[in-house]
């Protein structure tokens, strides 16, 4: 059921003509993924998925669509002509990786262990403290860059 949500949402994102419908299908896809993370015993990842993807990135993308939609949404075709090449390539990729996933003998654990929030917090601030700090720096740089890029040109500023 959740897999149908993920794959169907993804297919709708790629094939729908109206980009706002695509964004809504993307939210369906991300919500189903959050359910899958919860089923896999990673509730903290599911919560982060809901907060970051459903909460932040979806709203950001919807805002960008509304800021840029010029009203001429009825294009002859939403697809580039290189779709004819991209389709077979994506199919071959999915076939190869899927075949590798099926034919490999994974030594699957007998019991799946849920990841506790405490364990994640402990290792995030001990073993993975350096990636965490680098990530905070990256987020700071991204914020500054986004402000610089999205600001109006100088001559349009009000004085």
């Amino acid at each position: 059921m959740l897999a149908v949500g993920v794959i169907g949402g993804g297919l709708l994102v790629v094939t729908l003509r109206n980009i706002i419908h695509s964004a809504v299908a993307m939210m369906v896809c991300f919500g189903s993924l959050a359910g899958m993370y919860a089923l896999l015993g990673a509730p903290i990842v599911a919560a982060a998925q809901v907060l970051i993807y459903l909460g932040a990135i979806s709203v950001l993308i919807l805002f960008a669509i509304m800021l840029t939609q010029a009203g001429d949404a009825n294009l002859p075709s939403p697809f580039h002509r290189q779709a004819l090449v991209a389709g077979p390539i994506a199919l071959v990729f999915a076939g190869l990786v899927g075949w590798a996933a099926i034919s490999t003998d994974w030594h699957v654990a007998a019991v799946t262990v849920a990841v506790s929030v405490t364990a994640i917090a402990t290792s995030l601030f001990t073993d993975y403290a350096l990636p965490f700090e680098i990530l905070s720096l990256l987020l700071l740089v991204a914020i500054i860059g986004a402000i610089y890029l999205a600001r109006r040109p100088e001559d349009e500023e009000l004085h």
């Binding site: 993804g10 790629v14 990842v45 970051i52 950001l60 840029t68 199919l91 699957v108 965490f132 860059g145």
Partner: protein, 101 residues
């Protein structure tokens, strides 16, 4: 649905995202497809973390880090796309062909 089911779902999600990125003409939709690909990889990381024996939580932590990087990437990418749409008045990527001529 075991580990292989989750891996197949994640592979399909990545392939759908790659196909959309290569074939759609709208710049914002290409960014959405990048997010789809990142989510496919995230799903495989969390699935490996849940099913494979060494009982560590590296997969979940990698997934969280990938999410933060994806948020940064979406912010800067959307700012770039909005800036380029403001100057070129179109979101179609095949209209951005100044360097070709």
């Amino acid at each position: 649905m075991g580990l292989q089911g989750y891996l197949i779902v994640s592979t399909l999600l990545f392939a759908i995202g790659a196909f959309g990125f290569l074939s759609r003409r709208n710049a914002i939709l290409m960014l959405i497809c990048i997010e789809l690909m990142l989510n496919g990889v995230n799903l495989s990381l969390v699935a490996f973390n849940a099913y494979l024996p060494p009982a560590s939580n590296a997969g979940a932590i990698f997934a969280l880090l990938v999410m933060a990087v994806a948020a940064a990437e979406a912010t800067v990418g959307l700012a770039l796309v909005i800036a380029i749409i403001r100057t070129r008045q179109t979101p179609e990527v095949d209209e951005y062909s100044d360097l070709k001529e």
